[in-house]
Symmetry: C2
Subunit: 323 residues, 2 copies
Amino acid sequence: MAVYTKIDDDALRAFLAQYDVGELLSYKGIAEGVQNTNYLVRTSKNQFILTLYEKLVDEKDLPFFLGLMEHLATHDISCPLPVHDKKGNVLKVLGGRPAVMVTFLDGFSISKPKRHHCADLGAALAGIHLAGQDFKISRANTLGLEGWQEILDRPELRIMDKEIKPGLFAIIETELAFLRENWPQDLPSGVVHADLFPDNVFFLGDHLSGLIDFYFACNDFFAYDLAICLNAWCFENDLSFNMTNARALLSAYEKTRPLNKDELAALPLLARGAAMRFLMTRVNDWISTPEDALVSRHDPIEYLRKLRFHQQIKSVNEYGFEK
Amino acid sequence: MAVYTKIDDDALRAFLAQYDVGELLSYKGIAEGVQNTNYLVRTSKNQFILTLYEKLVDEKDLPFFLGLMEHLATHDISCPLPVHDKKGNVLKVLGGRPAVMVTFLDGFSISKPKRHHCADLGAALAGIHLAGQDFKISRANTLGLEGWQEILDRPELRIMDKEIKPGLFAIIETELAFLRENWPQDLPSGVVHADLFPDNVFFLGDHLSGLIDFYFACNDFFAYDLAICLNAWCFENDLSFNMTNARALLSAYEKTRPLNKDELAALPLLARGAAMRFLMTRVNDWISTPEDALVSRHDPIEYLRKLRFHQQIKSVNEYGFEK
């Protein structure tokens, strides 16, 4: 959420001259995304987001992320379209960083999602899953079961009981063992967004206008992606579960891509896993980010409470969804 | 250079509904200005900068700053025009902060100013000085001689010799005494920008397109404002003096607002004062900003070297300017 790499006007104009995008009119560093430097660039032809990838993004994953955005954008998904330069290249270098220009999407994030937002989201998520089916590159989910265990094994995280909540380490250890024991082996899978929080979904005039930030996308169970959205969109600020939102999300998803019996049965478990995924990264960030840093830390306890909620769920019907 | 106050979509839409600016299309927190929160807001009618004033700006100065921008913008100076809401108000509240919307200016800052940029700058600066003459509010310069002394008197700055440069405190003390002894009493004065660095001047297609950031504006000698620009625009990165730029700046200024004999004679001294002003605030910021803060600290030594340069100057002719 800051501009890490400064680009001066000469460098930017030389960079833009390699594209067929017209003359530079203005550019502003924007506070979008935590991991990268982003500029909103206006030219005489259009508006773009220029992203410089900072060290947190693994360069070898960029062809997957960029190829996926281009694949989806050309398959009727409203997401940023990477712009090709005059030689046809998408991935370039600027300010010593891998750099990409994508088209600008109108719209803005919704802070308090309602039923109709969740319905739009469900349809869009199923749309990604279907459109991604003939995408040729794949990428393993580094933040799956093994990834959670790796985070837990970091010696510096041992202070979580003291820093965050007494007994947290044991709770996580027990839950991780349960998830490893019960994780499904064989559900419909393909490309998932894996981070489709309200921040990453734009609306315009109450309709979904765009999906952004594909930098956690990977191959995994489709229903796991839905479970991530269930956690991110269907709890109130006080962490009560909003069944109206959940029903809208699941029903709209189902209409575009029907869920099979195994997926429906696995959903409560996948939701526990999805809660674990964000609990783990938030615990990790909480301990490694200084309290006074300008980057805001997300509360890990929020995801512990979501995990607790799903532990009580016996079947998908309890989310308000019946097939 | 960060978004300090987060505004959600509901709050922003309710805020925009008080104006006649159309529907919200998008908004992004931008990294513009060090002191305030700024959003670039696109609506169906136009683009705006929405500024929330953080604690560093004194609220009682806002009517001066905003009135000045409106006065200048309506007197043919290309600067942001504060937008009135439907009731005619400019200064409002959003997210618990004083908040103002201004028009968006195309253009971008030049990192390596050339002769023609300095000529445009000189004309624009003189234009501000003339246009400001019938502006009715005034504001004392809090960063003048007395302000520099106040900063020097802060006990915590005593570590500057150790933290920045051995002997720096005595150099500043001696120079301050000299400036106090010799500071002119009676030069043409009025509203000055007082911070017209390249960051605050936009160009488009090699012509000046806008002036921004009036939050240091105050009443002072016009020639002092010119001296600030001389320091900010007429030194190379290696701190060699660029006489071509200086000549262009001074000549273009002179064409719009002729400098009298006293102003010309005082310019080297005013340039020492202008160097002192930024030396003092940079020393202060250097010592009070942690090394690892995301806000970048400006090197104080740059302005010590500029001060040293002007100490050797006997007359304005040595800047390359002859009248």
